[in-house]
C-alpha cells in the first residue's frame, strides 16, 4: 500500500470513529489536541488499525509515538513494508 492509500484508509477510520467528515482529518491532525481523543478513543483506534491493516498487535512502546494521523500513516507504512 502507498502512503496515500494508507492515509485514505486511516482518514475513513478516524472520520467514522470521531463522527467527522473525511476532509476534517489531515496528516497533521493531533489525536488529543485536534480530535479531542481520550485514552479509550486511542485504544479503540489502535484496535481498528490492527484489524483493518492486519498487522497483529501494536506494541505498547510504539503507541506513545503515535500522536498524529501522520505518525500512524508512517508507522503503518513501515509495518506493511516489513
Amino acid at each position: 500500500m502507498t502512503m496515500e492509500e494508507i492515509f485514505k484508509t486511516m482518514q475513513g477510520l478516524i472520520a467514522e470513529q470521531f463522527a467527522l467528515e473525511d476532509d476534517e482529518v489531515t496528516m497533521d491532525s493531533s489525536f488529543t489536541d485536534d480530535l479531542g481523543a481520550d485514552s479509550v478513543d486511542l485504544v479503540e483506534l489502535v484496535m481498528a488499525m490492527e484489524e483493518e491493516f492486519d498487522i497483529g498487535e501494536i506494541a505498547e512502546e510504539d503507541l506513545t509515538d503515535l500522536k498524529t494521523v501522520g505518525d500512524c500513516v508512517r508507522y503503518l507504512s513501515g509495518k506493511l513494508s516489513d
Binding site: A19, G36, D38, S39, V40, L42, V43, E44, M47, E57, E60
Partner: protein
C-alpha cells in the same frame, strides 16, 4: 435467554455472584454462563449446596481477573483471559444475550466499548441508573459517571438514550427530558449546558424529544422530569448526594423512633412504610446500572453486590435484552447527530 455473568468481578466474588446466579436462574427462568476460574466457581456452588451444575448453567473457564488497580484503557490488551473480557467477547460473539458484572466500572465500560462496541454513531456510552423521585417514583439519571468530560453533542445523545430507556424499560409513553442545571432559566450554566440547551430545544420543537428545559437537582428529585440529562461528573455528584441524603434521613428517623417507649411503638406501626423506603434506596434491591449506547446489553452491578443484587441485576439484564431499546437507538441515531460548527452560534 442466556445471561453471561462475570463470576470473578466484585468484592464478594465468586461466592455471592454464584449464589445470585443460582437464585436468578430460578427466578427469571434463564440460562446462565459463568465466566471465571472453574475450580473457584465449583467450590462456590458447593458452598451453596449444589454438587452438579444445574441444567442451563455453564462455566467458561478463565485464568485472569480484572483488578481494581488495572488501567481500564489497556487491561484487555494486557490480560487476554479475564472473566470480564471473556464475558464481553462471548456477548459480542452471540453466545449470550446480556452481560452482568460487578467488577471495575471503568474496565467494564471500556471493555464494552472496545469489545462489544457502541451502536454505530453513538459517541459515548452512558451509565443510566434509575433514581427514586418524590411524585413520579423514578427517573433516569444519564450520565452518572461514565463520562466526566462531555461535549454538547454527548449531552444531546444522552437525552435521546435516556428517553428511549424511559420508554422501553420504564414503560413511559412520552418521557419528560430535563437538562440538569443550576437554574431553570436559559441563561444558566456553563457553555456546555447553554449549547446543549439550544440543540435539545430544537429536538423538542421538531417533536423528537419531550424536552422541558433546564431543571434544578431539587426539582428533578421531586419528579420534575423523567430523564435527567447531565455530564458524568455532575451526575455522579447528584447520585452520591441522593445516596448520602437517604442515609442521613434514615439515621435521623431511626434516632427519632428510638427515643422512648412511645416512639418505639410508633415505629412498629410505620415499619412497613420505613422498610419500603429503605428498599427504594437499597442498591441490592435495584441490582445494577445499564450501559446505554453499547450495541448489546451490559449491566454493571455495584462492586459490593450480594446474591440479591446479582439476582436483581439479572432481571434488569433480561428486561433490557427484551425491551427493544437497542433497536430504537440504532434506528434513530441520525437524529442524534449534531453539526459541530453550529455549536458556536
Amino acid at each position: 435467554m442466556r445471561i453471561i455473568i462475570d463470576a470473578m468481578g466484585g468484592d464478594n466474588a465468586p461466592l455471592e455472584i454464584v449464589k445470585g446466579a443460582l437464585s436468578g436462574q430460578k427466578r427469571w427462568g434463564m440460562d446462565v454462563t459463568l465466566t471465571g476460574d472453574t475450580v473457584a466457581i465449583l467450590k462456590a456452588l458447593e458452598s451453596c449446596g449444589v454438587k452438579e451444575l444445574p441444567k442451563g448453567m455453564e462455566i467458561a473457564n478463565t485464568t485472569e481477573t480484572v483488578e481494581m488497580c488495572d488501567d481500564p484503557a489497556t487491561v484487555f490488551r494486557r490480560k487476554k483471559d479475564t472473566s470480564m473480557g471473556v464475558a464481553l467477547q462471548m456477548l459480542r460473539d452471540g453466545k449470550g444475550d446480556a452481560v452482568v458484572s460487578a467488577g471495575s466500572t471503568g474496565a467494564l465500560l471500556t471493555g464494552a466499548t472496545l469489545i462489544v462496541k457502541r451502536v454505530r454513531g453513538i459517541r459515548r456510552a452512558a451509565m443510566a441508573p434509575v433514581i427514586p423521585t418524590t411524585t413520579t417514583g423514578r427517573a433516569v439519571l444519564i450520565d452518572c459517571g461514565a463520562n466526566a468530560e462531555c461535549t454538547p453533542e454527548y449531552l444531546v445523545q444522552f437525552a435521546y438514550l435516556g428517553s428511549f430507556y424511559a420508554k422501553r424499560v420504564l414503560g413511559l409513553d412520552n418521557p419528560r427530558v430535563g437538562l440538569l442545571n443550576i437554574g431553570a432559566e436559559d441563561s444558566k450554566g456553563t457553555e456546555l449546558q447553554k449549547e446543549a440547551l439550544c440543540w435539545l430545544r430544537q429536538a423538542g420543537e421538531e417533536g423528537h424529544l419531550n424536552f422541558i428545559g433546564n431543571i434544578e437537582a431539587k426539582e428533578a428529585i421531586k419528579g420534575g422530569c423523567d430523564v435527567i440529562v447531565t455530564d458524568g461528573f455532575s451526575g455522579n455528584i447528584m447520585l452520591k448526594s441522593i445516596e448520602g441524603t437517604g442515609s442521613l434521613a434514615g439515621s435521623a428517623v431511626k434516632s427519632i423512633f428510638k427515643k422512648n417507649l412511645l416512639t418505639k411503638l410508633a415505629a412498629a406501626i410505620v415499619m412497613p412504610g420505613l422498610n419500603a423506603f429503605r428498599a427504594m434506596m437499597d442498591p441490592n434491591k435495584v441490582g445494577g446500572t445499564a450501559f446505554i449506547g453499547i450495541s448489546k446489553p451490559v449491566i454493571k452491578a455495584h462492586g459490593s453486590s450480594n446474591a440479591e443484587a446479582i439476582e436483581n441485576a439479572m432481571g434488569q439484564a433480561k428486561q433490557f435484552a427484551e425491551s427493544g431499546l437497542i433497536a430504537d437507538i440504532e434506528n434513530n441515531v441520525e437524529l442524534m447527530k449534531v453539526e459541530k460548527e453550529e455549536f458556536t452560534k
